[in-house]
Amino acid sequence: MSVFRLGEKPYPTQILQRKLYELLLQGRRIDGRGLLQHRPVSVELNVVEKAEGSAMVTLGKTRVVAGVKYDLGSPYPDTPDKGNLTVNAELLPLASRTFEPGPPDENAIELSRFVDRCIRESQALRLDQLVYVPGQKVGVVYVDVYVLDFDGDYFAPAVLAATAALASARVQRYEVQNGVVTKVAGERVPLPLVKLPTAAMIGILRDKVIVDPTALEEPALDASIVIGWGTDDELAAIQKDSPGLIPESLLDEMIEVSRNVTVRLRRTLMDRLRDVWRPAEDVSVGSQSQA
């Protein structure tokens, strides 16, 4: 591919690429990590008391907060037997000098839609258990994700924060009697979350595959993709999130690496959620209490 100048980066980035690649050949990253090592992760639960569930996740110097709100609403016409899930993400201007205020740009939209797909497509949240009166009254789950500090890779911590917030959420319990939905005062129940989706960002520089690039590394990469797994064995979402060629020969390795990383993140999360979440199949927010 060196015969043409395809995807040639600005000169300073080329110097960085050469430096990074030299290090990668020695099995190292510019911040001292190994190629397949993600930055230290921390998950703090219930950081916002007024939200039904919330989590603050830091991945190195990238920090994301997610909150869950719950409400009653009408189902979508094409899914009368399911609750609604609404995911929104914003790249806050305080997180980076490159983020601007205003309505969500394409990057924020992409992030929202990726987090949405990780939760929805993995079927982690049993939306069918959020129905009070079919076709009329269902639970509406809002997951809002804000990137607070950006040092590369907001996808992985955003999915982690959204999952943690959902898993630790406690929402108002409702009772249905003769088609009338009423609050059960003072009672809160967990959401029917049956899986813990996690995601990893995988970058390539020439023939080298790396995990969790920083903001310094990101522009020097040839290409990157983010890969979400619903369980240890099941992919849920993939997004090639930047321009660049991914050689077919590297794709399998990228998928395998993402699996190992997301399994590790899931273990970390399970450990963190030990007291608040169990992978139960039959949780319910009250629809089964129908008289």
Partner: protein
């Protein structure tokens, strides 16, 4: 709600196709008068126009890059392209697809040949019947070639889905609505590279690898058709003889 039988007992699909069979398709290059390059594609009932303007002066000027052209892309669906009328503006989905199509095209274009300028790609979906992002990408690549923008390779795309537990190539809308997974793939076949990759849905690793193999086979068929469509266009100018 009862689901239609999507895979028949003999393994064929609801529209009679084999699992690895593309829908009937048609491509034509140079279909619009004003654009610098244009193309039209039909994949089953999906119908899409793509047009390219540029390279031209970057506007607004502050977005110009000193070392390369910037590429802009708008993927848009007509209000009547779907069963329920779609609002005319850009939805979040359209913003996302514009981004992935642009980045897929950017992967093969020699944008460094046109510093400080801009190239615009417009993808208009006239009728949507699944596979619009990948068909749009295939058409946009033809329109860029028609406009004479240098590129490392044509790109073509197709989706592989998992329907009733089976992997199938090039989902129709009926299949798309009831699928367990949808994997749109865009490739530059001559340089063995992936330019667009998304997944919505549940797949195991093994299924993913098999789906990628199916996508590649489909893309190779589309790629040959793209070259033929371009030859036909330039034969009309007397630049190529059949």
């Amino acid at each position: 709600m009862e689901k239609a039988l999507l895979i028949r007992e003999d393994g064929t699909r609801v529209d009679g196709r084999k699992p690895d069979e593309l829908r009937p398709f048609r491509m034509e290059v140079g279909v619009l008068e004003n654009a610098d390059g244009s193309a039209y594609i039909e994949m089953g009932k999906t119908k899409i126009y793509a047009a390219v303007y540029g390279p031209k002066e970057a506007h607004p000027r502050h977005i110009a890059q000193p070392h390369r052209a910037i590429l802009q892309c708008r993927y848009h669906m007509a209000t009547f392209s779907v069963s329920e009328r779609k609002a005319p503006g850009m939805t979040r989905r359209e913003h996302e697809l514009s981004k992935v199509i642009r980045e897929a095209l950017e992967s093969v274009l020699f944008l460094e040949e046109y510093p400080r300028s801009m190239i615009e790609v417009f993808v208009e979906v006239i009728q949507a019947d699944a596979g619009t992002r990948t068909a749009g990408l295939t058409a946009a690549s033809l329109a860029l070639a028609d406009a004479g923008i240098p590129m490392a390779d044509l790109v073509a795309g197709v989706a592989v889905g998992k329907v009733a537990g089976r992997l199938v190539l090039d989902l129709s809308e009926e299949e798309d609505k009831n699928c367990e997974a949808d994997l749109p793939v865009g490739m530059a076949p001559s340089i063995n590279s992936i330019v667009l990759l998304q997944l919505n849905g549940r797949l195991t690793r093994e299924e993913f690898s098999e789906a990628m193999r199916m996508a590649k086979k489909g893309i190779e068929v589309l790629y040959e058709a793209q070259k033929k469509a371009l030859q036909k266009r330039f034969a009309a100018y007397g630049e190529v003889t059949d």
